[in-house]
Amino acid sequence: MPRIIEVIVSPKGETKLQTKGYVGNDCLQASKFLEEALGIPLSEGKTAEFYEAAANEQQVRQQ
């Protein structure tokens, strides 16, 4: 899956950034340059995909 940063800017100029296709904690670093360039972070959350990948990593380590 290609690594994508999706940016959606609302009609009022509020911006939402979402990273897709990154492995591990790379997703947190991937969009940092855009977050810092665009303004002040209001909130941050991890998606279900983030936790699924973390759970898979943990399972692999336990085997």
């Binding site: 290609p2 959606i8 665009l38 959350g45």
Partner: protein, 120 residues
């Protein structure tokens, strides 16, 4: 992995400001001091059509000073559109600096979506 960040836009970059103005068909803003109803403000002056006072962009703080008296002296929607286009143009500038590919798409609710893909 994936995470989502919501951001309040701060208007710092003159190049992105110019691009946003261009998209709106506005002249490139000049630096100056304007007298608003609430007092003087210094920065990049953007005169929106039909506005009594210019909007003044302080690029150091990234904030915009304006007086519209709740829409009586100017349509807020024009400033909103400017802020939207600023964020779009700024994101595109930064992504291209890093060599990423960018595509832009208008959404039905009036939002603008960018897909930024890392180069191969």
């Amino acid at each position: 992995m994936s995470h989502i960040v919501r951001i309040q836009t701060r208007v710092h970059d003159p190049a992105a400001i110019n691009s946003a103005c261009q998209r709106l068909g506005l002249p490139v803003p000049n630096h100056g001091t304007a007298r608003l109803y609430s007092g003087e403000a210094t920065g990049l002056l953007v005169q929106f059509p039909g506005w009594q006072y210019p909007a003044v962009i302080d690029t150091l703080t990234g904030t915009i000073h304006f007086d519209t008296f709740e829409g009586r002296w100017g349509d807020q929607a024009q400033l909103d559109k400017f802020q939207q286009l600023y964020a779009v143009e700024k994101a595109k500038l930064e992504a291209r600096k890093k060599g990423f590919q960018v595509s832009e798409q208008s959404l039905q609710d009036g939002s603008i979506k960018l897909n930024i893909i890392e180069g191969s």
